[in-house]
Symmetry: C2
Subunit: 494 residues, 2 copies
Amino acid sequence: MPSVWQMNRAGVGVMTRYEEVAATLRERIEHGIYRVGDRLPSIRAVCQELNVSISTAQEAYRQLMDAALIESRPKSGYFVLPCRIPSVLPSVSRPAQCPLDVSQWDQVLELVATQRDDKRLLLGRGVPNLEVASLKPLSKILAGLHRSNDLHGFNYDKLSGSPELRQQVARLAVASGCLLHPDDVLITTGCQEALSIALRTLTQPGDVVAVDSPSFYGTMQILKANGLKALEIPTDPQTGISLEALELALEQWPIRAIQVTPTYNNPLGYTMPEARKRALYQLAQRFDVAIIEDDIYGDLAYTQPRPLTIKSFDTDGRVLLCSGFSKTLGPGLRVGWLAPGCYREKALHMKYVSTGASATLPQLAVAEFVAKGHFERHLRAVSRQYQRQRDIMISWVQRYFPKGSGISYPQGGFLLWVELPADVDCVRLNERLAQHAIHVAPGALFSASGKFRQCLRLNYAFTLTPAMEEAVRTVGELAREMLSEVRESSLAMK
Amino acid sequence: MPSVWQMNRAGVGVMTRYEEVAATLRERIEHGIYRVGDRLPSIRAVCQELNVSISTAQEAYRQLMDAALIESRPKSGYFVLPCRIPSVLPSVSRPAQCPLDVSQWDQVLELVATQRDDKRLLLGRGVPNLEVASLKPLSKILAGLHRSNDLHGFNYDKLSGSPELRQQVARLAVASGCLLHPDDVLITTGCQEALSIALRTLTQPGDVVAVDSPSFYGTMQILKANGLKALEIPTDPQTGISLEALELALEQWPIRAIQVTPTYNNPLGYTMPEARKRALYQLAQRFDVAIIEDDIYGDLAYTQPRPLTIKSFDTDGRVLLCSGFSKTLGPGLRVGWLAPGCYREKALHMKYVSTGASATLPQLAVAEFVAKGHFERHLRAVSRQYQRQRDIMISWVQRYFPKGSGISYPQGGFLLWVELPADVDCVRLNERLAQHAIHVAPGALFSASGKFRQCLRLNYAFTLTPAMEEAVRTVGELAREMLSEVRESSLAMK
Ligand SMILES: Cc1ncc(COP(=O)(O)O)c(C=O)c1O
Ligand SMILES: Cc1ncc(COP(=O)(O)O)c(C=O)c1O
């Protein structure tokens, strides 16, 4: 797989100034001039040394962050990241290159049908930390709106959603490089409805959809329910869907839509570098196919500014951007949104037949929360926390899991992907964990047909207690048990 | 069309005791022994005279009410109804007898895309009265829940819905003759999602669905969005879908599901007599086809007990009952439910891909509102009000609309159906009304392909002000204007 840099050289041709700066810094990292954990020169120092503008230097650092080579720590500067050691990262997925029917519903159901009063420690669910003080104002706003509820809180809202909220969504989208008009936004009942509407807007039963792989199980199940076929494209755990493989697939199969989660990917954690996002858009343009971009974790950036969306490059409306407030505020609110580009009319019809207008008061509450600045404050608080907890969770996994396990290194969100040695079957591991009242998300959920059986997803959003460390230790121990069982039985066979 | 009685004699054979009593009373009404507006003998008096038990006499009166021959007025007794004069009722629909693609989305969009701050008088929307005191406790409960919100209010709920609410739904369903376990109930995001899930559970694109006609436009649009064909079955404005026509259709076409709103039908207002509901179920059994029963208005009965659902006769799980709290509490809450019978597993998958779990706190709030008895109190208050307002709205229509207009006479809910002389095109009428800031629901919305153009639907839920009377007068006047234009131009042609 060519790196971003090679691709830029080969594909796009001439390097821009900031790409040159990034390449220079990258070489120094690779040659050990700056070593893991080192602080890099300040932006100002780079400007002076290489004779470039501040914005060029910033952009270069941005690219290095996108490539997960360095990270920025608030008020301290930029640091070289430790995880370029290939053996620590999950491997590139190499799924079968033909469209498949989606299975795995039983496993997904087991994960999502968990009860509120579930006594198990759910290490695998995609739920943010709900116990943070910065969420309090939202409860207050909601209570206030309901107390003073006049007519319209109980009435149908506008089909496309509350104007107040659509305005705030459009305003927030600027941070990801999107210039949306409030009328470009359709409020949905969670991001799941946005994805469902986007897929139903673009496809007919039997159609083929290209997906990154592994991919969010909710999307995979939408494919299943609509009789669509998933074409799983090899995906790099650092740079995302392989554009080379996708191009081949586009030549070979009648692909109706490309579905990706390019920023803080669930489950792999990577962010596609900006250049690759742009290249993906250009590829879609060349083959005249639509992109469904899931950006639900995009606001949970550990460093500012947050990465651009593919939608930010969209000049002809072919990107349907799906997002919402489930991972930032709380999924129980069911407030999501869709920017359907040039498919607005059909999407609006799909929205109507799916659930009619979405609930009124939660929309007004979120709009007020954002308008008053609580949202940005909240994002800062949780992102800092998630970044800290990522490192703790990684250290636990390194300590307790079998040697040779690959671990992701997300720059946003709160999900960790672990690839165990090939002999560990995580569906069976999960069955054994049930006896310890522990539940993880087995990797097989994230594939059309049960690949990634040796992988699992962990959540590090909730406050990491000693009980959680103990649980991670148990997961690692049972995994090692399974490994030695397999080895013993294969020895016995000889 | 044979009456209920003929059908009982011919179809089911022997009359039961209560059917005999009902037939006797019916004959007396038809022979003018009891005349329009007369009070009928009390239950006790009937028991003595005809030597039957109290429950038999009650059941007989129930049948007469189902047939819209009499009505019960709280604390006063039973009265003969005035509207058996055929010319006052809309005529039986005679739609084309072949499956059709659904159109009319533009018209529906215009109706449902109305803004919260719409300045027009929306005489046609399906929204209940939200200004009643008996709803206040719900706002209080919601405010309280949000104020004291702990973790789980913002978290994903159980996929099938809050156990608290499913328990209350099961309890309430007893009044319609259903014995449901809470696990038989799936909470949805409005009744629209219940209908959508039910249809997607049963069908594949291209399938044929038999529907009553006219039929709720929301359902028709679900058919459209899923590539389903609507087979519109002739429907009697007093007794509902024609079983004879349906039987013929079942013999002729590969029908996958029968979709009906048999109680306080939207838009026609009728309630299918119990015997016909049972016969419909038996027909579905004979042809092994599923029934989707929409009961969203069923709780808004003017007299108690409320009519039985078709689901109450369901012994093999082929009825998918759709309902919710949009017409009783408020559609902005988006709390609906589905009892999917034997299709639970597939329906749960459809629910997951559609929106995931529904919002948590609104479910808990409705559950508490019901559990504390507020719901039944509220139903009593609004039903009484709707019954009164029905009579006022009818008197306005009789006074202001062109002679010969047919008017429905609902025994529950809050929707009136008016059939104008054939020359009035209500889509065009609506266009003219726009200049007066008035909007009605044109009949064409309720058909697959724009039939019922001379019909319209009015809402009498909101407090009937002089401004509303003035608006109804304007509708009638413009309709008469259109009529005389048509007549003049046809005279000029001679
Ligand atoms: C990538 C991704 N998209 C969409 C969703 C669904 O979000 P919502 O709860 O808003 O429907 C999730 C939740 O797990 C997710 O991880
Ligand atoms: C017959 C019927 N079914 C279903 C619905 C949809 O109800 P909800 O608002 O709960 O989706 C309506 C609303 O107009 C209706 O009239």
